[in-house]
Amino acid sequence: MSIELKNITHIYEPGTPFEAAALNNVSLEIREGEKIGLMGRTGCGKSTLIQIMAGLIKPLNGNVIIDGIDIDEEGYDRTGLRQKLGIVFQYPEVQLFETTAYKDVAFGLKYSDLTPEEKDENIRWAFEITGFDPDKVGSKSPLELSGGEKRRLAIAGVLAVRPKYLILDEPIAGLDPVAREKFLKLLRDLNEEGMTIIMISHNADAIAGFADRTIVMSNGRIEIEGDTKTVFMDRPKADEAGISVSTAGRIAGMLRDRGIDVSEDVMSESELLKELCVHFNNDNRSEDQT
């Protein structure tokens, strides 16, 4: 079971003065159970790629194959696709259009086979795991929420469907630090339970704390791809693709430049801390000996 993109090329508004090449022969496979980070400069094609993956944009060329079936095949079950693949858009306002928050979260379940009770249960679960009290927020208009609250509501709406594949476009933008931490933890838990997750982010710390595999795009192509640590360790390549590496990784690099011996593969804060403790204790020990 997987999402497969085969030789995807996309040009917006071809043949007009606005013609813009967005993707250039991209092939990619995402296997069930993976946690994928997707990074790259503004305008490199990330949002286009995931919308094609979700069947929301038909590419000029290439195939999208989900669980073995080409989604452009005649008679493909699009409604079924909506139930198994959830997408949270870059700006949450795009997907909040109902009169109440409850209806917004319920929207995706409209065509599901669940009983009304089961649906309600899913909806309440989605509110709760995104930090809302459904009884308090459910009747509010989505327009009456703060920026970060709108973001969380949009996420809740997609999670309520409990999709098999979850695609997130800059989901942590606008979340405060605690909400960010909780959300990344939630993603790891959902992944443990079997959800395949693809997250776009400019935030290297979030990607470092989440993704097993990271894909970096540049000018409509996949530029770097590999396990997250390896991607972040290749600083020249990362710089060229315009992504930053995790804060801890960057600090480690600066320390190495100054002649302090910390390992090349430091990515998280806890790894950096461990290295620093070793460094200082070694120092103390050598002083003791002299």
């Binding site: 606005f18 400069r41 503004t42 870059q90 306002e93 929420l145 979340l175 804060t247 801390l273 200082f280």
Partner: protein
């Protein structure tokens, strides 16, 4: 002289049933760079919408650039002095083509034609969006939209610039460039800057930090006093910058650096000094 002054400001979206701002008093001086921090829903955007009279003042008093905010405020004059970039650029766009959108502000203030073209070009190139003049704003990528929204405010050249999470969709290079530019605007043209952010790391360019919690201004002060105060940040739902966290964790393990760093560079320097 304070360029923004708030005295005991309170606000409720539902006729007093739930208050979302409580007794906010603050002073922002001309030439300040103020970072506003606070958890989701703490009232940051609500407060800022008072500065350019998008929300009607219910309680307390506010003056911005010597203009008293009340029912008789000349909103026109006010918004020439203070420009705000909001969280979602789509709500900010007024024209469909990029160049018309950026030119909208200056046009409305009767800037001469030839100057408008020049201002628009400058603002777009400032945010790296030249070449996109004719594009329709709704066809831009997420980060491109945010850049154009920024250009719209830059073209107006107001004395006070307010950014409500205006860097949230920028890539690392774009973010760095914008922060550098904010600093430059401040140093060279004495612009006053207010920036709302969830990234404490960005506070390094600020000379003042305001911390909001549950509709109240919990504390205002120097960045170092607020960002180094782990307890205060944790109790407000925030976290110290990563460099500061490393410093604090080392300290817990008996390794004491000579100063509390706010930035990566400061952390590296103090580690090198101790080594």
């Amino acid at each position: 002289m304070s360029i923004i002054e708030c005295g005991n400001v309170g606000y409720s979206y539902d006729l007093g049933v739930t208050k979302v701002l409580w007794d906010i008093s603050l002073n922002i001086e001309k030439g300040d760079i103020v970072a506003v921090l606070g958890h989701n829903g703490s009232g940051k955007s609500t407060l800022i919408k008072h500065f350019n009279a998008l929300l009607k003042l219910q309680e307390g008093r506010i003056t911005v650039a010597d203009i008293e905010i009340n029912n008789e405020t000349n909103v026109w004059e006010l918004r020439r002095r203070i420009g705000v970039v909001f969280q979602n650029p789509d709500n900010q766009f007024v024209a469909s083509a990029v160049e018309d959108d950026v030119a909208f502000g200056p046009e409305n203030y009767q800037v001469p034609r030839d100057e408008i073209g020049e201002k628009t070009r400058q603002a777009l190139s400032r945010v790296g969006m030249n070449g996109y003049e004719k594009r329709l704003t709704h066809t831009l990528s997420g980060g491109q939209k945010q850049r154009v929204a920024l250009a719209g405010v830059l073209a107006m050249d107001p004395d006070i610039l307010v950014f409500d999470e205006a860097t949230s969709m920028l890539d690392p290079e774009g973010r760095r460039e914008l922060l550098d530019y904010i600093k430059e605007l401040n140093e060279e043209s004495n612009k006053t800057i207010v920036m709302v952010t969830h990234y404490v790391e960005e506070c390094y360019i600020a000379n003042k930090v305001m911390l909001m919690k549950e509709g109240r201004l919990l504390k205002a002060g120097e960045p170092r006093d607020i960002l180094g105060d782990e307890e205060l940040l944790l109790s407000s739902g925030l976290r110290p910058p990563i460099a500061t966290q490393i410093y604090l964790e080392l300290k817990k393990r008996g390794i004491e650096l000579d100063c509390c760093p706010l930035t990566e560079e400061e952390l590296v320097e103090s580690i090198c000094r101790l080594s």
